[in-house]
């Protein structure tokens, strides 16, 4: 196979950034899914678009704008969630509505529509040195935080009340996690796209849950699935001349369907084996 794809500087950078994001996005995604807040990625990424628009209007780096908007949105979700704990998913819907509404209005004031649109579906092959350095820094920060807070995040996701009674600093850990989620989503919006980042947060976790036999395995399989989808998606998009963001997510969905198929086949084989054994004993 000809790997001329890796000769290009922009593709090397795309692989580096893509793989780093594929490691940290599912780490965030695992906790988000188990806290039953799967759509938080959608709410944050859509709100990040409002931040991008503000950044472009004011002439500041749109990623910085996206990050600020994401942080505000993430804390907004937490604040609303605490006030209506029985309908916590409503907090996401409310913030999502604010984000989409603001992004829609503000996009009308952005002079360079092409730049704004690049945030919708991402442009992983056109990121700058600054953005690459930002992704590397954030990836290290998020990954180390996830490892250090592994047992605290697990406990809170499993049973927040018991975690608090055991002495876990729930508010501090939740605040750190909210910040990590917000910065991950904002930086990923630039690369894989605001409309796609939430899929990358959830789909690899769903795939991992089919295969894993423990929480730890779910985390590991989520990362493996996301990295596999990113590398495969980048190859396919390069050679088939497709948009990379969408290709990566569709590859992740294909892996999910493959995992479902393999699980079904396994069940069929196992039940056939059991039938055979019972026939023999009869």
């Amino acid at each position: 196979m000809n790997f001329d794809i890796l000769q290009y500087d922009f593709m090397q950078r795309a692989f580096l950034v893509g793989i780093l994001l594929a490691v940290i996005i599912p780490c965030i995604g695992v906790i988000v899914v188990f806290k039953r807040l799967s759509l938080i990625g959608d709410a944050l990424s859509h709100t990040s678009l409002a931040g991008v628009a503000i950044g472009l209007i004011l002439g500041i780096n749109p990623i910085v704008g996206a990050m600020a908007a994401c942080l505000l949105a993430a804390f907004g979700i937490e604040a609303i969630r605490k006030r209506i704990p029985r309908y916590s998913e409503l907090s996401i819907a409310i913030v999502l509505s604010v984000g989409v509404g603001l992004a829609g209005i503000l996009s009308g004031f952005v002079k360079n529509a092409a730049t704004f649109n690049s945030f919708l579906f991402g442009s992983i092959v056109a990121i700058s040195d600054f953005e690459t350095a930002l992704v590397v820094g954030i990836a290290i920060l998020v990954f180390l935080s996830f490892i250090l807070l592994y047992k605290e995040l697990f406990y809170i996701a499993f049973d927040e009340q018991a975690a608090a009674l055991s002495g876990v600093p729930v508010r501090l850990v939740n605040t750190i996690f909210t910040i990590l989620t917000a910065i991950t989503v904002s930086v990923a919006s630039r690369t894989v796209g605001a409309l796609i980042v939430s899929s990358l947060m959830v789909v690899p976790v769903a795939t991992a849950m089919i295969m894993a036999r423990s929480y730890k395995q779910t985390v590991i399989w989520s990362v493996i699935c996301a990295v596999t989808a990113t590398i495969t998606g980048l190859f396919i998009s390069y050679y088939a001349e497709l948009k990379p963001g969408g290709t990566i997510v569709l590859t992740a969905v294909a892996l999910f369907l493959l995992a479902l198929l393999l699980k079904w086949l396994r069940q069929v084989i196992l039940s056939a084996g059991m039938k055979g054994a019972s026939n023999e004993s009869a």
Binding site: A157, A162, L165
Partner: protein, 293 residues
């Protein structure tokens, strides 16, 4: 000498919004008691447990855990709490029994620290104590309701609790699993002197293990199944003097003067043909009269 209170509630009042749920409730659950909280739906049984844990704040009154006021109490890992439907709620989480029990060791492991071999051994020991060691690596979702409930129990036992607060632990599990669970709790109560307070509607299956019943509101509900002498009425009648019990020296369970919960023999100290200081013919325990108040 009166037994020391593991849980003491004095003149407790609490309500949701403008509706007063409990008013002036007082009771003491002594160290080593195996007590049930009973009452109709809406009488505040689960609320009582949450008040004891500080998850809800009473409008009036005081709570003492192991002699310390709740506001100053900071040994919560020593209070094992198994919430209502905890097994089925946990069932949707993709974690193994081992991972779930390990998470409860947080107070011993510490913030930002990694669990060591000794913690993993403690987890296996806790699972072993509820007969679930062989399922340590099973996903909680793949276990039966009774097994899930036993894992939830192991989750609190791993911290060697002094008090267990269980909110309807027998709901949704079959009779065999209820018996198994109650035998484990009985063993903890007798051998490890763990004080147990359990919210339940299932008196028919658990009554034989109890030595106290805390009745919220509905007096008749308790009297149908439990000897009157075991009942503590926690509402309007909460200020009545407690009933006299016969205390078994062998098993350390306070027994009803007229009816021994262990051997089912009449043990009225006044009429008993067997002297109460001698072993009971049926259960071999020595019973001696003692005012349990």
């Amino acid at each position: 000498m009166p037994a020391e209170c593991a849980i003491e509630v004095k003149n407790l009042s609490f309500g949701y919004s403008d509706v007063l749920l409990m008013d002036g409730v007082s009771f003491c659950v002594s160290k080593g008691d195996f007590a049930a909280v009973i009452g109709s739906n809406g009488t505040g049984k689960s609320t009582m447990i949450k008040l004891l844990l500080g998850l809800l704040t009473p409008s009036n009154g005081e709570i003492f855990l192991m002699g310390e006021p709740l506001s100053a109490f900071n040994r919560f890992p020593k209070i094992g709490y198994v919430p209502q439907n905890s097994g089925s709620t946990a069932g949707s989480f993709p974690a193994t029994a081992e991972e779930i029990v390990l998470s409860s060791l947080y107070s011993r492991i510490g913030f930002l620290k990694i669990p060591g071999k000794k913690h993993k051994k403690m987890v296996l020991d806790a699972l072993d104590s509820v007969g679930m060691k062989s399922h340590a690596r099973s996903l909680i979702s793949e276990l039966s309701g009774g097994q899930q409930q036993r894992v939830m129990l192991a989750r609190v036992l791993v911290n060697d609790p002094e008090i267990l607060l269980l909110d309807e632990p027998t709901v949704g599990i079959d009779v065999g699993a209820v018996t198994l669970l109650m035998e484990i709790l009985h063993k903890l109560n007798i051998e490890h002197k763990v004080t147990i307070l359990m919210v339940t509607h299932d008196l028919s299956h658990v009554a034989q293990y109890l030595n106290r019943v805390l009745c919220l509101s509905d007096r008749n509900f308790a009297e149908d199944t439990i000897p009157e002498s075991l009942i503590i009425h926690a509402h309007a009648a909460s200020h009545e003097p407690p009933h006299e019990h016969v205390h078994c020296a062998a098993c350390e369970q306070p027994h009803d003067p007229e009816h021994c919960a262990v051997c089912a023999q009449t043990r009225d100290p006044a009429q008993c043909s067997v002297p109460c200081t001698e072993p009971c013919a049926a259960c071999s325990h020595t019973h001696e009269s003692e005012d349990d108040s």
